[in-house]
């Protein structure tokens, strides 16, 4: 089982674990925000550097499978975590609390996510999910003196715990029905017991549990509260990494057990509801973080369209969509954390009135992000949405395609409202702080900006990469 290739294959995860422990020791020796921050970023880069160069698909103990998809997603997660790490520094510098533990939790949460995307077994999935969730509890309620953060923490904890229990019960039922905990084993068994009540009941419960993590309707209600209560970098994490990794596992799960017709119906219902209700909820929202939360519900709905479309094309579309979505969400929450002033986040849209006239670069970035989320051409979001649509069209999911288009129209309304707000002249002078830690954040924004445009104009490179990744996954 433990041969020489296993350790290199798991290098990023090993580095992250070691980094978390070392980080804790660093704090024990002497508290220094900057040192811990830099250490975190360095270890994330190190983990990123250790990625890749795997000969092919490799299973580890039946718990993990290190394939192209896993490596790609691990890379994406590490890069995203790197950005979140950058955004955390100015954010927490203003905090009066102890800030250093946040980075340990960030590393651990990243570890959980990066383990989840290579999980091929219910035990490893469950444990990675819990690493992620438990770290998130701490990250969400991190600014514990604020009532909203604590409230968000309690809400997330209770709901996540209940959904974990539901998920576990479901896994248990599937285990009773098949006697297997590994995905491939379950897949083999599922062929023989396709209609078993235990199995389907279990699958239904697993679906509910995953649906909660992905914030799909009707398991979506926590999203806006948690996003708006949590510190902005944490919200970025919940919106991106936490969802993306669970989505990958969802894909792996249904790839091995097959997309049964009834399950497809359930997914269609969920996708339609998520797309419409997400956009509807955001329509009149005045709080930027809540607006992003609702928008993320709708975006996960779009992703489920790709999921239903299935196949290599669906997976390509989904991964590309995830990349575009990650970039947009990172930028948006990054901006929110950057503009936070002595621990007070600018939440309301009216706080951003006239941003353009004071900080044109930031306003243009935020507008671009909104346009990308709305799927306006020449942004990464457009290619993503188009890709997903194409996948839907090719697999003849007409209902989903129609709803996707319709809900995009609804969505456009509120995205543009944000843009309009940025460019209007404020009635009274609004002050946007200039953070003293602007250099790294500025660079991060610049990179996100370039990515948004570049992926909108010349996405060919990334698409080819992703297509190769999928082939490796099926290798």
């Amino acid at each position: 089982m433990w041969h020489q290739q296993v350790i290199p294959a798991l290098f990023p995860q090993i580095i992250l674990s070691v980094a978390a422990v070392v980080c804790m020791l660093l704090i024990a020796v002497k508290r220094n925000h900057a040192v811990v921050h830099l250490f975190t970023l360095l270890s994330l880069l190190l983990a990123l550097g250790s990625l890749g160069r795997i000969p092919g698909v490799m299973g580890v103990d039946g718990l993990f499978v290190v394939d192209g998809l896993g490596v790609f997603m691990t890379g994406l997660i590490l890069i995203t975590a790197f950005f979140i790490g950058i955004f955390s520094y100015p954010y927490f510098s203003q905090s009066v609390l102890e800030r250093e533990e946040y980075y340990i939790l960030l590393l651990l949460a990243t570890l959980g996510a990066s383990l989840m995307v290579i999980s091929n077994h219910f035990i490893s999935f469950f444990l990675s999910l819990e690493i992620l969730s438990v770290s998130l509890y701490g990250m969400i309620a991190y600014t514990k003196t604020s009532t909203v953060a604590t409230e968000a923490g309690v809400k997330y904890l209770m709901l996540a715990a209940v959904s974990s229990a539901i998920l576990l019960f479901g896994i248990g039922l599937m285990y009773v029905a098949t006697g297997q905990l590994g995905l491939s084993g379950i897949g083999r068994q599922a062929v023989y017991t396709p209609t078993s009540g235990w199995f389907t009941a279990g699958l239904g419960l697993v679906l509910a549990g995953l649906g909660f993590k992905l914030a799909l309707v009707p398991f979506h209600l926590w999203t806006p509260d948690v996003y708006s209560g949590a510190p902005a970098p944490t919200s970025a994490f919940v919106a991106t990494i936490s969802k993306g990794s669970v989505f990958v596992f969802l894909w792996r799960l249904f790839d091995s057990i097959g997309r049964d017709e009834r399950m497809v119906i359930i997914f269609v219902v969920i996708a339609v509801a998520s797309m419409l209700i997400g956009n509807w909820l955001a329509l009149k929202q005045q709080n930027l973080k809540r607006l992003l939360a609702y928008s993320s519900i709708a975006h996960l709905g779009y992703l489920i369209v790709a999921f239903v479309a299935a196949g290599d094309r669906g997976l390509d579309a989904a991964i590309f969509y995830l990349v575009a979505y990650f970039i947009s969400m990172l930028g948006a929450f990054g901006l929110i954390s950057y503009l936070t002033e002595s621990g007070k986040e600018k939440l309301l849209l009216q706080d951003y009135t006239g941003l353009f006239w004071q900080r044109p670069a930031l306003a243009i970035l935020l507008s671009l992000i909104m346009l990308s989320l709305a799927g306006i051409p020449l942004t990464a979001g457009f290619i993503g949405k188009f890709y997903v649509l194409l996948a839907g069209v090719y697999s003849a999911q007409w209902l989903l395609v129609m709803v996707l288009i319709l809900s995009s129209v609804i969505g456009l309304f509120y995205y543009l409202r944000v843009v309009v707000q940025l460019f209007s002249r404020p009635d009274h002078a609004v002050y946007f702080p200039r953070s003293p830690y602007a250099i790294s954040t500025g660079m991060a924004f610049l990179v996100l900006f370039i990515l948004l445009i570049w992926l909108g104009i010349a996405p060919g490179n990334l698409i080819t990469q992703i297509q190769q990744v999928v082939h490796l996954a099926r290798g």
Binding site: F122, I123, F126, L127, E130, V134, Y137, G138, A141, K144, T145, T147, V148, T150, E151, A152, G153, V154, K155, L157, M158, A161, V162, S164, A165, I166, L168, F169, I171, G172, L173, Y175, V176, G179, L181, W198, P224, D225, S228, G229, L281, K284, Q285, Q286, R290
Partner: protein, 105 residues
């Protein structure tokens, strides 16, 4: 050892699970909610034991050990949060936590 049908065993687990679920839904005291979650997790663990016994495998039991660890971690953070809530709000009433919501315009 015993010859109780598996679905009866599962019925027991389901009943316990759903009692826990009802508990989460109807109690306003956060501590009780956390307790009810523990009941649910315990019921889920029971399912794995049933499965392990049914297939005569140790995997089910291994999973239950992991569930125990997870329950412990969750309770630790959960109770810390409850203390913080009590510290800030002077109550453990979950309905007091409604600062975050959509404001009707």
């Amino acid at each position: 050892m015993i010859s109780v049908p598996v679905h009866v065993q599962l019925l027991l687990a389901s009943i316990l699970f759903l009692i826990g679920l009802v508990g989460v839904l109807i109690r306003r005291n956060v501590i009780f909610m956390l307790m009810s979650v523990e009941i649910m997790l315990n019921a889920a663990g029971l399912v794995f034991i049933i499965g392990g016994a049914h297939w005569h495998q140790a995997d089910g039991q291994a999973m239950v050990i992991f569930i125990l660890a997870m329950a412990a971690a969750e309770v630790a953070v959960g109770l810390a949060l409850i203390l913080q809530v009590f510290h800030l709000h002077k109550t453990v009433d979950v309905d007091c936590l409604e600062e975050l919501k959509d404001t009707q315009s």
